[in-house]
């Protein structure tokens, strides 16, 4: 063997080893993806065609698994539809569009099957809810004619109450004066406020026309246009939702319904049948490290619900002490503890606690007084939203009380910090990547920042102010995003605060009366938000692409069920609960591109608590979890 041949042999050997290494690594990755795709491949598919006597676009095909009480919903494109990842079992399939619907067809699907189905629609109720007796629709300008008093309604009332609240409630001048008095806190000299809305507008409010003369104009206006002889009316949507049929045909919703309690038990029990309307009431969702989705059920009795999306199995956990002391949000820390503070409940004046549930022991292991030193003097004080910083300290907003509580993990100490804004009603609470806590102020439409290092508050007013903001979030560049509801003829907006410049940028949502609730980024920088419906405009999960400023809208399976919170997975699936559903409370998910599904499990990109960036804590947690 000469030296040249030897060298060639060495090079070939090295190249061979490199090739083997590359093949091993990529092969491993392929194996993982293949395993994940195998999870989906073992399930069933259903596709087909839809016909109708008139033209239709993006008809909604409801594919209900009767065994598991799950509904898949996909959209037609030129009359064709397809779906995948269906659990084997017995199905009921129907399709609806505006003014059109089909009969239910039953089909049984086996694992791995790719079944076909043809559906025929005819005139029917379609996707919209049935009309109510005695309620009519009219144009906004007909219901709200120009005149003195309208300015107060549009700027003062519709900021929070939307355009149908007043028109649906005709009443006498006595009632209207009582309503005005409620908002001005007329009874508060004699007692404490019993809701965070009460007294939100005092006679000293300076954000919009609300002087005494203007309040009298308001009374005259509503008495004239919405007096005791008026009929309830709804504002007709004057703009169709712009739908991209081709994009929608790639999307698939799944709703996992909460089991309805048997008669005489749970929410139907004698103790709770009259409380909370006797229904289950899904509120917020979060993911744990194992891909399960957790939900707060605000019905009575209160429950935490754990859903394993890969099987459709649910398990309920009752809150402690009678499961009636109030709940709302939840969050999950890197140790797996599910945190859920107490809200108003059936004892709105009780001392409220920060509750922590350990899924491993299935016990409420933490019951921490939220205000041990009684810093908040309101007789009624309720907690709601939370955020975790990088040290897993917990910050909880007092929506009734105007403060946040910090639970310091290392010491177990709770400290209460009153919010600087007068009459603050803190709604959404989040942490940015510098461990600042950001809070949406429901009462004013401002955003408050709490610097956790020097314990200072800073307030920010968006360009649209006053406004109505409930939720906010942070993107990968540490920008703060907030969703601003529409107000009369002023459209709903997404607002971005650039922390590096301190400047706001706002984007108008191209919808009729948009009420964007939560806003949450995906891994590609798109902002996803849930939009509340109107009586004749469907509830939506929507996407905004800040790079090219385009919008995409996905009608939800339940036309009239609003959603307060969305959570995005590392694969870009959007989880939610159709909170407004009276008949079908659920945990739901939107897959914008069903072909990208590799698992039905729900995982944050960087693990709980769901920050959109790899913070030191989550990096550590991810490494620990991967060992």
């Amino acid at each position: 063997m000469n030296s040249r041949r030897f060298l060639t042999g060495v090079i070939v050997g090295i190249l061979g080893l490199c090739a083997a290494y590359v093949l091993t690594v990529s092969g491993g990755a392929t194996t993982v993806v293949a395993q994940q795709r195998g999870e989906i491949a073992g399930l069933a598919r259903l596709s087909g065609n839809v016909t109708a006597p008139q033209a239709f676009r993006a008809a909604q095909v409801y594919i209900r698994n009767a065994d598991k009480n799950i509904t898949y919903m996909v959209f037609t494109n030129a009359g064709a539809f397809r779906s995948l990842a269906l659990f084997p079992g017995n199905y009921e399939v129907r399709v609806k569009a505006k003014g059109l619907e089909s009969e239910v067809q039953k089909v049984a699907l086996r694992a791995g099957e790719n079944a076909k189905l043809s559906l025929a629609m005819r005139a029917g109720q379609g996707v919209e809810p049935a009309p109510q007796n005695g309620v009519t629709f009219a144009r906004y300008s007909e219901i709200y004619p120009a005149g003195p008093g309208l300015e107060v309604i549009e700027q003062g009332c519709m900021r929070c109450h939307h355009e149908n609240f007043i028109s649906a409630r005709p009443a006498s001048e006595d009632v209207w004066r009582a309503r005005l008095g409620h908002m001005m806190g007329a009874e508060l000299p004699d007692r404490d406020a019993r809701a965070y809305t009460e007294g939100a507008l005092s006679g000293r409010v300076q954000w919009f026309p609300f002087a005494r003369k203007e309040r009298e104009e308001f009374i005259a206006y509503v008495t004239k246009n919405f007096g005791p002889d008026a009929k309830p009316r709804f504002v007709r949507a004057e703009k169709e939702v712009p739908l991209d049929e081709a994009a929608l045909s790639k999307a698939m919703f799944i709703e996992y319904y909460l089991p309805i309690d048997p008669p005489g038990t749970g929410s139907s029990s004698p103790e709770f049948a009259k409380q909370g309307r006797g229904i289950r009431w899904g509120q917020d969702v979060r993911f744990d490290a194992d891909g399960n989705v957790w939900l707060t059920d605000r019905g009575y009795p209160h429950r935490l619900v754990k859903l394993n999306p890969r099987t459709g199995e649910q398990k309920d956990y009752l809150y402690p002490d009678g499961a009636k002391l109030g709940n709302h949000d939840l969050t999950i820390d890197r140790f797996g503890i599910v945190w859920a503070p107490e809200h108003s409940g059936l004892q709105p004046t009780g001392k409220k606690r920060i509750l922590g549930f350990n899924p491993k022991t299935e016990k409420w292991e933490h019951q921490i007084p939220g205000d041990p030193d009684n810093v908040i003097r309101n007789e009624m004080k309720w907690m709601q939203s939370m955020a975790l910083d990088s040290k897993s300290n917990l910050y909880v907003g007092w929506i009734m009380g105007g403060a946040i509580s910090k639970w310091e993990r290392a010491t177990g100490k709770v400290t209460v910090y009153p919010i600087s804004d007068r009459g603050a009603v803190p709604y959404g609470v989040i942490a940015d990547r510098n461990d600042n806590i950001w809070i949406a102020l429901w009462n004013s439409g401002k955003i408050a920042k709490f610097d956790t290092i020097n314990e200072q508050w800073t307030e920010f007013a968006p360009l649209t102010f006053p406004g109505h903001i409930r939720r906010l979030n942070v993107d990968a560049q540490n920008n703060i995003w907030a969703a601003i509801w529409n107000q009369g003829r002023r459209p709903g907006k997404l607002a971005k605060l650039d922390q590096t410049t301190g400047r706001f940028t706002e984007y108008s949502v191209p919808l009729w009366t948009a009420q964007p609730y939560d806003v949450n980024p995906d891994g590609e920088g798109n902002m996803w938000f849930a939009d509340s419906p109107t009586p004749d405009r469907v509830a939506l999960i929507s996407k905004f692409n800040p790079r090219n400023q385009t919008w995409a809208f996905y009608p939800k399976p339940q036309f009239d069920a609003d959603t307060p919170k969305v959570q995005v997975t590392r694969e870009g699936a959007i989880w939610y609960s159709p909170r407004g559903s009276r008949d079908m409370p659920a945990i739901g998910v939107l897959y914008p591109d069903m072909d990208k599904i590799t698992t039905l499990g729900a995982f944050y990109q960087y693990g709980p608590p769901g920050n959109p960036w790899p913070s030191p804590t989550t990096q550590t947690a991810s490494r620990t979890a991967s060992r």
């Binding site: 809810p129 109510q132 005695g134 309620v135 109450h161 939307h162 149908n164 609240f165 649906a168 409630r169 009443a171 006498s172 006595d174 009632v175 009582a178 309503r179 008095g181 409620h182 004699d190 007692r191 404490d192 019993r194 809305t197 005791p228 309830p232 709804f234 009259k274 309307r277 009431w281 709105p348 009624m380 509340s532 419906p533 109107t534 009586p535 004749d536 405009r537 509830a539 036309f559 009239d560 069920a561 609003d562 307060p564 909170r579 407004g580 009276r582």
Partner: protein, 207 residues
Amino acid sequence: MAVADDADRQSDGQPVICNRLGGSDRTRRPCDWGSRVGRVLSHVGRVLSDPAKWTAVAVVVAAAAIGGSARAAQTPGKRSVMDGVYTTDQAARGRAQYKKRCVLCHLDNGQGHAAVPVIPGESLEREGDAEAPAVAGEPFQKKWNGRTAWELYGTMASTMPVGSPKMLSPQEYADLLAFLFELNKFPAGQSELTPAREQLESITIGR
């Protein structure tokens, strides 16, 4: 305060309420106890002197006693809201309280939250006052039929206004009760409702 158990009749047939305290209301007059007792004793003497009348009276008295005791066993001192258990003046005071404390949720005519249409898409959170029941009309009367005014009074005073129950005085709650009876078209009468338990327990709701 006037009492109804001393009622007599005027020449025009309208009930006159004897007022032990000598009130000045035009439908009331002080009791003339001497002349009334004398008339009764004279009549009793005439009856007892005639054996036939005495026997007849004994039968009537026995029957009355049996019947009376039977009624007493069923409904001792019971009245109905149809018997006029409040006054219009009292209902007017109750209406003023209602306008101040109740009308926000229970609305003008006591229809309650059921009168507000469901707004499709409106958050359950924003419905507000979903628990405000009707306090007038068929739903109310069906719910409370056969129950006592004391039960209704107790429910009102222990739960209303929401968030601050028992904030009104007992008489103010009784006035509100009177207004609810007026709202439900139960007739007014000559005497006011009091918050006294024994009085309210004796009044049954229903037509």
